[in-house]
Amino acid sequence: MLKVENLVTRFGSVVALDDVSMTAQESKITTVIGANGAGKSTLLRTISGLEHPAAGSITWKGQSILGKRPEEIVRLGIAHVPEGHAVISELSVEENISMGSLFRRKKYKSDVTAAMDEMYALFPRLKERRKQLAGTLSGGERQMLAISRALVSRPQLLLLDEPSLGLAPLVVEQIIDSVNTLCRTTGLSVLLVEQNANTALGVADHGVLLALGKVVADRPASELKADATLRAAYLGY
């Protein structure tokens, strides 16, 4: 569905992605794991158009999306939840969610309301707080909000960057569970970036291990999880 080939992304003289090739399969959870600085976030940011690659190709449903702006890529069905609970604190919960479906409001008017109601059903705490400013939410609620903002754009592929960052294990579990359920019931494809490899490999179908910008393993998640040598060498546990 999404195919990345020989991708190179640089920041000045630093090579963040070095000849990365991988795919995200339809209706599956693919996880990209690796230590801090492995290039996981850069991979997602390059796919969603926030960073410009120096070389390589990104193909989405058979068409190249290389060089497209982020606001166009989301319209093609790839929604990105960047690292760090990316919501706009000065806007209300409701405004943050509806922001994600602004571009659909004319063509799919009734579905926009339906999509928002689905988010409130998925994360009832957001409904209770819908008039509150996003800045007043807890970390977990903010992550739920960021995911909701992405989901109301009705994506076929969700790029999820470190949803566990700074959250309590229980909250992480709840969020990962929701995403997992969505994938299994609606056929949403997910590309999940995680530093917490155990959590990620627990729900994912497929795993890609990145180290210093290079792919060192690309296998079914269960195999990766069982490989003690790889874990010890690259994830340190």
């Binding site: 960047p82 405004e95 922001m99 994600g100 602004l102 571009f103 903002r149």
Partner: protein, 303 residues
């Protein structure tokens, strides 16, 4: 008593105009995240266009609407021709730091102001000219007494009130308004939400351009028109925006009326020379007690 009424009415109508200028600044601040010092240059330019149309025999109202439209077009052009290329130059050394990225567009807006004033000087010559008012500038008469409040004052106050209501509704109730606020607050998240941020910013510039042209049209009947005649209005309007809260349309209007009153009462009860001292005093008091402005929100960024 008569002095008091005169000061009150002059403060009301001046305040309304400063409110409009502040509103224009707030719109670009909220929509594009920068303070646009070229704003009254744009207003001066479109008022000159209106003045030329009237001189050539067109009616006031045709000139009025042409000026509003040309204000909007000029605003949009400045964004497309100057601001957008600047913000796309992220790779350049000069724009590599966050603070420079915030400062450069503001400096560019000062440059635009200079260019617009020079151009107006070249096209229309630099001498002052008058500009007509659409309503009588004589006071209302009640029971034989002439009040210091004129029909033009009433016109100004009502137009500003309507503009404020429309802008507030636009920002809070419409999709474009939400897109504009999102773009100003966090461009990355806005883009990832599918908002076409370049287009959104241009719309902010156009609306602000129209609002400030309106201010230009309303103030020149009492202040005359020259390439530099609106500089002072900008300074007071900017102060009003800061006093009221740079991110709040209602705050801009409140700030505008506060400064209008202060200026008017100081002029009537003291001397016009003290006006600047009074403006500075108001600014200092607000910045010390409530740095975000009277109605500004807590998270508003600093200029």
């Amino acid at each position: 008593m008569n002095t008091f009424l005169a000061a009150l009415s002059s403060g009301t109508s001046r305040g309304a105009i400063f409110a409009l200028v502040a509103l224009g600044l707030v719109i670009v601040w909220r929509g594009a995240g920068i303070v646009n010092f070229a704003q009254m240059g744009q207003a001066m330019f479109s008022t000159y266009i209106a003045s030329t149309l009237i001189t050539n025999g067109n009616s006031y109202w045709i000139a009025f609407f042409v000026a509003l439209i040309s204000g909007a077009v000029l605003g949009a052009l400045l964004d497309i021709l100057v601001m957008r290329p600047l913000s796309n130059k992220k790779q350049s050394e000069l724009l590599s730091s966050e603070s420079m990225r915030a400062a450069v567009p503001v400096i560019a807006s000062l440059g635009i102001l200079g260019v617009l004033q020079a151009l107006a000087g070249i096209i229309w010559a630099a001498e002052e000219r008058g500009f007509p008012a659409p309503a009588k500038q004589e006071g209302f008469t009640v029971a034989g007494n002439v009040l210091p409040f004129t029909s033009f004052d009433l016109f100004v106050v009502s137009i500003v009130t309507v503009t404020l209501i429309i802008t507030t509704l636009f920002f809070t109730k419409t999709g474009i308004g939400l897109a504009m606020r999102a773009t100003a607050l966090n461009q990355e998240v806005a883009k990832l939400s599918g908002i076409r941020t370049n287009r959104t910013r241009t719309i902010s510039w156009a609306i602000s351009g129209a609002a400030s042209s309106l201010a230009g049209l309303l103030i020149t009947p009492t202040s005359n028109l020259s390439p530099n005649s609106l500089d002072l209005v900008l300074i007071v309007g900017f102060t009003a925006a800061v006093v009221g809260g740079l991110d709040s349309p209602a705050g801009a209007v409140l700030g505008g009326f506060i400064l209008g009153m202060v200026i008017s009462f100081v002029t009537f009860y003291s001397t016009p020379e003290d006006v600047f001292l009074a403006i500075l005093a108001v600014l200092l008091i607000v910045l010390i007690i409530r740095p975000r402005g009277i109605l500004g929100s807590k998270d508003a960024r600093r200029v």
